[in-house]
Symmetry: C2
Subunit: 297 residues, 2 copies
Amino acid sequence: MKEKEFINIIKDITKSGYIGDDCAYLKDLGIVVSQDNLVENVHFSMEFTDAYKLGYKSAMVNISDIAASGAEPKYLTVGLSLPDKINTDFVRDFYKGIKDASDDIEIIGGDITGNDRIFISITIIGTTEGRKISSRKNAKEGYKIIVSGNHGSSAAGLKELSTGQKSKFTQQHLMPNAQVSFSKYISKNIKYDYAMMDTSDGLMDALLQISRSSNVLLDINFEKIPYDKDLEKFDNYKDLILYGGEDYELVACVPQNFYVPHSFEIGKVKKGSGIKLDGEYVKNAEEKLFNHFKEQK
Amino acid sequence: MKEKEFINIIKDITKSGYIGDDCAYLKDLGIVVSQDNLVENVHFSMEFTDAYKLGYKSAMVNISDIAASGAEPKYLTVGLSLPDKINTDFVRDFYKGIKDASDDIEIIGGDITGNDRIFISITIIGTTEGRKISSRKNAKEGYKIIVSGNHGSSAAGLKELSTGQKSKFTQQHLMPNAQVSFSKYISKNIKYDYAMMDTSDGLMDALLQISRSSNVLLDINFEKIPYDKDLEKFDNYKDLILYGGEDYELVACVPQNFYVPHSFEIGKVKKGSGIKLDGEYVKNAEEKLFNHFKEQK
């Protein structure tokens, strides 16, 4: 997939200021909207998951996009396409998974069609009342960089799944949790502009996007990044932490004196551009992200 | 696809009052939301259409859902999944088609992923300000039944396409137009509750849904249904008109004295249940709809 090339074309044709962000913020309606696809044998394999877990994760992936904006996840619609062989139990379990992922979210509709493999496209709507909405353009010099939790677990889980193992990491890969409370605390309490993204495509990817959109240097201290110590049994565990995707944690750049409960400060926003890791500029981040992405396919 | 069975399960699991309607009406936000899937070789074939026409029709199918509710189509997001072999021209033309279908609608985002065949899931948001929103439950005894235009052309076009022909009917099948003006006139001017649906699954299907949801008899006069006279060259042209889908016209039940420009009165809402056609109860409508549906696959 030439995804980035396609997105540039779409921006060019549509002249839409919304394209390219995780969420569209519709100020006139007081809502944010996001849509994410999950395709069988691209994003997941039924060899490793089941209908319930798939529903749960599909909802969480979308809830995480809304959480990243600071809005309150409220309504979702499910575009689902299923092979003819799939039975009613699959549909029941899939929707149970969605429902269990989202106590406060109402499933308001969607469409169900036939296909040769499972395709899921969920659209989620969040409300912005009483919330300050984030933008990846809002990281400012002097801000601190915080994350909501552990990184690398999901990528480790994916590796283990492919060798037939089951562990806490495989569980975290199959049933991630969106960081709704972290998002809610910040967006309801912060007075200043701030940047926030989820780390669905990896922590480094989110940092790069924020750095570029805000024209700042993000100076990261690796040892401050929280991770499960059991990751150290993996040869390349530092890469899993930095480049592994699908942890669905949040990374935010907020004023130094703004306290966020259960957050981990991993660095500072400075004048300049790019990412520094323990004092060294990160040079091959794009390539590593790309390779990680390829590996997952 | 056991679509109806699946929808009952989804209603049961989600306990959502929104499931099963074409649009979800979110009163708290003043919006209606709808999502529709289009799957390659199920809903369309690249043998007969092209990227531009596909984009155009994909948007129109969704715009038609909002038009049926009486709301104003405003924003859409596009979940798109494409085979790797597809090039940038395809993406450009597809989005041009969407844009040309919808001058007043902004494309606000979506997701683009890899797949083995083309899959499109569009979510559309309409606003309800200054509009009275329809419900298929609102057909009342004494109301007249009106349609916005010709039926049967799209189904005739599909038949012609499969034999390699090109005509005004194939054009109407590939590039239908949602009846936005008809919808706007009614929803901005009507004072009473009314029923409205689009005829995407066939005129008879829409009539059946309204009849059931409103617990009324719909008494239809076949000769009042507008259609292109050139349809008469097809052996079963009456079936095309009644059961053929994808005309994306609107059918509405409104008070007898409510004037709607460019509308065609095709019958009356009466006490009772089911559909009468020229005085006779329609007995095998479900089966005919089902057969038509199968034929299209």
